[in-house]
Symmetry: C2
Subunit: 196 residues, 2 copies
């Protein structure tokens, strides 16, 4: 009952601090001692809140996955819209999730390989399903004559790759808002660089 909106639980603090460390130094190169020091406590104390180092990574990765899925579902649920419009909205949603927490996004994108094999397989299945969602949207757009691409799978991979580079350079306090960026990315990917 002491907890206010601005006070993170100790567990949430651990997650947040670990996210920043995992992002800059990598999961394997980050020690629990470093994490403890950053939190201002002793290494052993962390284990009253979590079971293992991997558990933190697991939570970060799967929380982000949930957000991407929820955002996509919400952005594309309106079937009355053309596929190209729904694709635009899906792109905007993806960018919004990425920019809301760039550190967690970077961990989600790069550190999943350090999950245990079982968790890693589950993670990759989710990622594959998410890619299929984009692929299907592009495929629908092709069939409706709104989009053109020799291969929807290829197009989906390229599109997501462009979006996922964002955590590498996005600064929350920059001139461009997440929505500005989303629009530019969508324009560039949909319209191309060549003058028409």
């Amino acid at each position: 009952m002491e907890t206010t909106a601005s006070t993170l639980s100790r567990k949430a603090q651990i997650d947040q601090t670990a996210t920043a460390l995992f992002r800059t130094r990598g999961f394997a190169a980050t020690s629990m001692r470093e994490l403890a020091t950053a939190l201002g406590i002793e290494a052993g104390s962390i284990y009253s809140h979590i079971r293992s180092k991997e558990e933190i990574l697991h939570r970060i990765c799967f929380r982000m996955a949930d957000q991407f899925f929820a955002g996509f579902a919400n952005a594309t649920q309106d079937d009355t819209q053309p596929a190209a419009v729904r694709l635009r909205r899906a792109i905007e949603s993806h960018v919004r999730v990425l920019t809301l927490d760039v550190a967690a996004s970077a961990v989600f994108l790069h550190e999943w390989r350090h999950l245990s094999e079982a968790a890693r397989n589950e993670f990759l299945t989710l990622r594959e399903r998410y890619e299929v969602n984009f692929r299907r949207l592009i495929q629908q757009g092709i069939e409706a004559g709104e989009l053109h691409a020799p291969d929807a799978a290829f197009a989906a991979l390229t599109l997501l790759a462009s979006l996922n580079w964002l955590p590498n350079w996005f600064k929350p306090d920059g001139k461009l808002t997440p929505d500005d960026i989303a629009h530019r990315l969508a324009d560039q990917l949909l319209l191309g660089l060549a003058h028409s």
Copy 2:
């Protein structure tokens, strides 16, 4: 003199085996014992050929950087060509370097953060310079009316992000040759997904 074209020097063997391990398990999570086992020797023996674990990573990263720069210079040296054509050739060169050794490319793209601070700074300076090369090419294309984009820097980042995702899915024995892929990528990035 025993060395034939198909026989790698021990040092080259170490680099190659380490590249594969660094790629799948990450630099920090790969131990010198694992590397030794993969080579069929004892851990201590590696140090007759190299000075440190980081030296291997250093060589992989900077060798790839050299290849990207050499390829770009070669692809864009003909000033009589339009900027859009030179950009296409630069894309093809980049894809060629990536596909020639996807494992080394993946290490180059993801593991540079484990270089020592001095080497890391040098590496990032090179990467920045490479990106500027693409940015300038795009800028020239915009000024010549061959390309259109609200921001050349933004366009360059997005373009390279799409290309650099390649090592994550490219299979050397797949149906598409590197040149096929380069053409498709160039088409998609230059022409866009939207029907014109």
